[in-house]
Amino acid sequence: MPASERQVWAPLAEAFEDSGGTPVRLVEGPNSTDLRENLYTAALLARDSSFDLVLMDVTWTPKFAAAGWLLPLDGSFDRDELAAFLPQALDAGRYDGRLYRLPTRTDVGVLYYRRDLLEQAGEPPPRTFADLERTARALQDPPHRWGFVWQGSQYEGLICAFLEVLRGHGGYWVSGETREVGLELPAAVEALEFLRSSRLGQPISPPGVTTYKEEESRRIFQEGRAVFLRNWPYVWRLAQAAGSPLAGRVGVQAVVSRSGAPGAGSLGGWGLGVSRYSENPDAAVAFIRHAGSLAGQRILCRTSGYVPSRREAFEDPLLLSANPFLETLRPIHDSAAPRPALPRYALASDILQRRVSAALAGLATTREALAAAARETRLLLGDRARGRSAGAGQFAAEQHLPPYVGRDGVGGR
């Protein structure tokens, strides 16, 4: 686990031992998600049996499962037990029909806004991208206050933010069923243009947005220097904390979409799986069950402010009193959309990150960037026909969008 989470997991481990479970040893790793992924990969590739549980990000399941590093959990949990979890979060732990990871906490991308500023100007909260842009432009006062702040640095967070805009425009990255790459469709072009023009030209986002990750963007917003912020639920508690300049002035909603319906925030979250090389699989499963139980969820989420993955936790008085925000979050989470379930997701993500970054930095045009990303993604997906799409040519004006495919891939909407 990241070193910073020790105080979250330690009480859980203690409670587990107190109730008769085997002692649990916590191993600290670097805080960076990518680094921990590399550490796990190195250890599992080496068939290291020194750890039993794998704390996995939502995008790691396909890779670890496909590599054969995880033990399936279907046999250890019955349907009722599993039904207790939020379906989107649970599905993120499935691969190829089997369950490999039980979610311990979940996340969904949301849009924060300065309710006080909007009310003052008589603007309603935005529903569409056009609304967002208009309101941001009207209320911003650069460089003291920017309209729209998000995570534009070249890392996984950028993908999360970009996918929300992409889905909001009705586009898709990789279709689950057909493995079609949708990066050259008009929707994708519009989506990337939206983000790109937020920063270049007549910006509503600060030029430094391409260096921001979660914390940088949060700080800008929390210091009152932004009207809108796209980020994760954790920001809410910090913004509302005593002493925060924004206490009581922040509103939160689902991300916007072109149609005006609530958009699909990117699904995030973490969960536990069992390593195939574990020498104590039963004890590992017992701990996972404990972490997913209501008691476990309380321990994990009460002080940390994490979003629980268990349904009833959203109605639990204890958790609600610590984090009333959960009530607002629940419906938003219902439309959370996962990232593509590819074993080589890391490569697909790296490809897209790189190209989107280049476009945002003005080093490439939107079309160039998307064309390159599409080509490289097709190569990755194994289309040996020289990276061309299996279907029609590029930028076809008339492409009907595939129906919403389902949780094992990313469909349009």
Binding site: P30, N31, A42, A43, D48, S50, K213
Partner: protein, 273 residues
């Protein structure tokens, strides 16, 4: 005038060479708030050893250092012993065999490590030596053999043939000749070779990073350097600097003590080439 220019040059060279390391040492001794102050604070005021203390408590630094010493030492020993044999033989050889062997060894040394990494990983894994010192010692010894042989060979060349002949006439077999006659006479060169291999092994990163997945088994180089890559809000630069200082201190010592040998060792191959 010329003297002044020379002194300036000397100062520049010294400053350039010492600068980054010295800066690290200064940072390691600064209190946290002075580390992140703008404009930069140069001298710690007052210096503190707190970073060293927290570092020692948080990371198994003692283990890292011990691993580095054991692995580098054993690899150096192995490389030198095996290299001795080859060098002993090569020094008495002339012509095509010698030239081709030396050239061949040189070519082997030039292979980019990334090319060899994965198969070596597979091999070490198959032997069950992942997270085991032998998993690094053997590859290190083998990969540094060319260097060892090059250095040792030129040292052995210095030994007059007559000494060899006399030993053979005395009835000493080839192994005995290498270890009991040539080795003592070329002792300085042997030490040089050992030190250089030791340094290369200590500093090696790619294999160390990949073959040791458990924290406690890491060498000091891999243990520290695999921390980087987060934002300023996450890396405790004070502690990191302390770690860097501790990781490099042994090498600084080595250089100060063995400076002459290292120099001659490094230049031997190139000039003779």
């Amino acid at each position: 005038m010329r003297r002044a220019a020379l002194m300036l040059a000397v100062a520049l060279v010294a400053g350039w060479s010492l600068g980054p390391a010295a800066w690290q040492a200064l940072t390691a001794l600064k209190p946290d708030d002075q580390i992140t102050r703008v404009p930069t604070v140069y001298l710690p005021d007052p210096p503190t050893t707190r970073h060293f203390e927290t570092l020692w408590a948080r990371k198994p630094f003692g283990a890292y250092l011990a691993n580095s010493v054991v692995i580098s030492g054993a690899a150096a020993l192995l490389a030198v012993v095996v290299g001795l044999l080859a060098a002993g033989a090569l020094a008495r050889t002339t012509g095509a065999l010698r030239d081709r062997t030396l050239l061949g060894l040189l070519l082997l040394a030039l292979f980019p490590p990334i090319l060899l990494l994965f198969p070596l990983y597979e091999g070490v894994r198959a032997l069950g030596w992942i997270n085991h010192p032998l998993g690094l010692i053997l590859p290190y010894a083998a990969l540094n053999l060319p260097l060892a042989v090059w250095i040792l060979e030129s040292g052995f060349r210095q030994i007059p043939r007559e000494v060899d002949e006399a030993a053979r006439l005395d009835g000493l077999g080839p192994l005995a000749r290498v270890f009991r006659v040539q080795l003592p006479l070329a002792a300085p060169t042997v030490v040089t070779a050992g030190i250089l291999v030791f340094i290369f092994c200590w500093n090696e990163f790619m294999l160390a990073l990949t073959f040791m997945t458990r924290d406690a088994g890491k060498t000091v180089t891999a243990g520290i350097a695999s921390v980087g890559g987060a934002s300023i809000y996450e890396i405790p630069w004070g502690q990191l600097s302390a770690a860097i200082v501790l990781a490099t201190a042994p090498l600084v010592l080595l250089v100060l003590v063995f400076q002459g040998r290292i120099t001659s060792g490094l230049t031997r191959g190139a000039v003779k080439g």
